[in-house]
């Protein structure tokens, strides 16, 4: 992936919003990749958690928001438990989701779930999913 970085590509406002919502200091990440190595959903991610952190540090909002990473994160907290820099990555993922969701854009449409799944899936699955992925 060829990425252009210059003064015009850095979205400082995005960095500030993610830091404010998550309460995390993005520059703490030293790019060791423990998060990516620990992530149960990484194979489905267009950008690994480590790369999301790197692109975020550089304020490259379009790359971060254009990837499915934060939407397939299951908030399992394995990365948070293992991060040697104590970055609470699930909070960063949530902040990136919220920047989108707060524009009233849903990621899942409850109407489109299969009826058999709605019949059988436990309430915690539905409440959890809609809480994380809808506005």
């Amino acid at each position: 992936m060829r990425i252009v970085i210059n003064g015009r590509t850095v979205d400082q406002d995005f960095i500030d919003r993610v830091e404010e919502i998550s309460g995390q200091k993005l520059s703490s990440c030293m790019q060791c990749g423990t998060c990516t190595a620990s992530c149960p959903m990484v194979e489905a991610m267009q950008l690994s958690p480590r790369r999301v952190m790197h692109l975020l540090q550089m304020g490259l909002r379009d790359y971060v928001e254009g990837a499915n990473t934060v939407w397939v994160c299951a908030s399992c907290h394995t990365c948070e438990a293992r991060c040697p820099r104590c970055v609470d990555l699930p909070r960063v993922m949530e902040a990136i989701r919220l920047v989108t969701l707060r524009q009233n854009k849903d990621r899942v449409d409850p109407q489109r779930l299969e009826p058999t799944v709605i019949d059988e899936a436990p309430q915690v699955a539905m409440v959890g999913c809609f809480r994380k992925l809808t506005a």
């Binding site: 404010e20 919502i21 998550s22 309460g23 149960p40 959903m41 194979e43 489905a44 939407w71 397939v72 299951a74 908030s75 399992c76 907290h77 394995t78 948070e80 438990a81 609470d88 699930p90 909070r91 993922m93 949530e94 902040a95 919220l98 990621r107 899942v108 779930l113 799944v117 059988e120 899936a121 436990p122 309430q123 915690v124 699955a125 539905m126 409440v127 959890g128 999913c129 809480r131 994380k132 992925l133």
Partner: protein, 296 residues
């Protein structure tokens, strides 16, 4: 002895097998789970945003109900409810500014400052029953049953609400040992089952579930014990979807820890509702003479 109890939404419907077996078993052990009056959904997942206190109101309201009952602890069984309630409780205990905002917002409720301790049933058994007493109460030891414990995510992460630190957690293993079961060391005990992504990214969630099942099965487990209705859905009820597609060698039935507890204490399938489990669970337990064979 009565103890305040928060059931949560799923235990009243699709996971009655988790709740009924727990209530009946605890009664045998001399503890009455006293359901909170007027409880509401805990929210299932915790809000991770610094500026989102609104989603903390639901779990905090439940904690206030426990305080109003005069309780110093609130027992939960569902792993996700445990996590959500425990984290809301920590926030109210430790973050003075947010606590004041929440208390001011819910002016119709008494103020709350984290006075109630949220206790998962496994820890309740450890601390208020004890493994020796539990072992002594066992009428039908689960001898020869090779059980892999599965903690999942929400019992052990984040560390500040872990029922025991994940690096050396043993509460589940000790519980199974007290019931006479053979514990199978499970390297996937703390791995994620795919969680709520089963609805939005089902393929990826089933991949995660398959790894958990495959790992426990490869270690020779007959059965995997768990405490979360969402884990049971992904790992148990959806197992049929992933055996063929993920090259698993065969089934691994799942069971709630409370069902094993009830069985070991001499209670029957009437409180265990095995019809709500993975379809292999009942036949496995029948084959081991732990429950009577159901008439065809």
């Amino acid at each position: 002895m009565k103890v305040s109890y928060y059931p949560g939404c799923t235990l009243k419907t699709k996971a009655r097998n988790l709740e009924d077996s727990a209530i009946a078993a605890l009664r045998v052990l001399g503890h009455d789970l006293d359901e909170l009056p007027r409880w509401n959904c805990c929210g299932a997942v915790t809000s991770l945003a610094q500026d989102d206190l609104l989603h903390m109101l639901a779990p905090v309201r439940d904690l206030i109900r426990a305080k109003q009952q005069g309780s110093d602890k609130l027992v939960t069984i569902c792993s996700m409810c445990y996590n959500t309630l425990a984290r809301a409780n920590l926030l109210m205990k430790n973050d003075v500014e947010k606590r004041n905002t929440i208390n001011a917002f819910m002016e119709e409720e008494p103020d709350y400052a984290g006075e109630v301790e949220v206790v998962h049933l496994l820890n309740f058994l450890r601390d208020y029953v004890g493994w020796d007493k539990l072992a002594a109460a066992v009428k039908k030891p689960l001898s020869g049953l090779r059980v892999a414990p599965y903690y999942g995510c929400t019992l052990v992460r984040p560390a500040e609400v872990a029922i025991e630190p994940a690096v050396d957690a043993s509460v589940f293993e000790r519980f199974l040992t007290a019931l006479g079961a053979e514990v199978v060391a499970n390297p996937a005990a703390f791995d994620c089952c795919g969680s709520y992504q089963i609805l939005s990214s089902p393929k990826e969630a089933l991949d995660a579930a398959a790894r958990v099942i495959g790992t426990a099965r490869d270690r020779g487990a007959d059965l995997m014990a768990l405490s979360c209705p969402l884990c049971d859905y992904n790992l148990g009820k959806r197992q049929g979807d992933l055996i063929a597609s993920h090259g698993l060698q065969g089934e691994l039935p799942t069971v709630y820890f409370t069902q094993l507890l009830a069985l070991a204490l001499g209670l029957g399938p009437d409180v265990c509702h095995f019809e709500l489990n993975h379809k292999g669970t009942r036949s496995l337990l029948e084959g081991r003479n732990l429950i009577p064979v159901q008439a065809a």
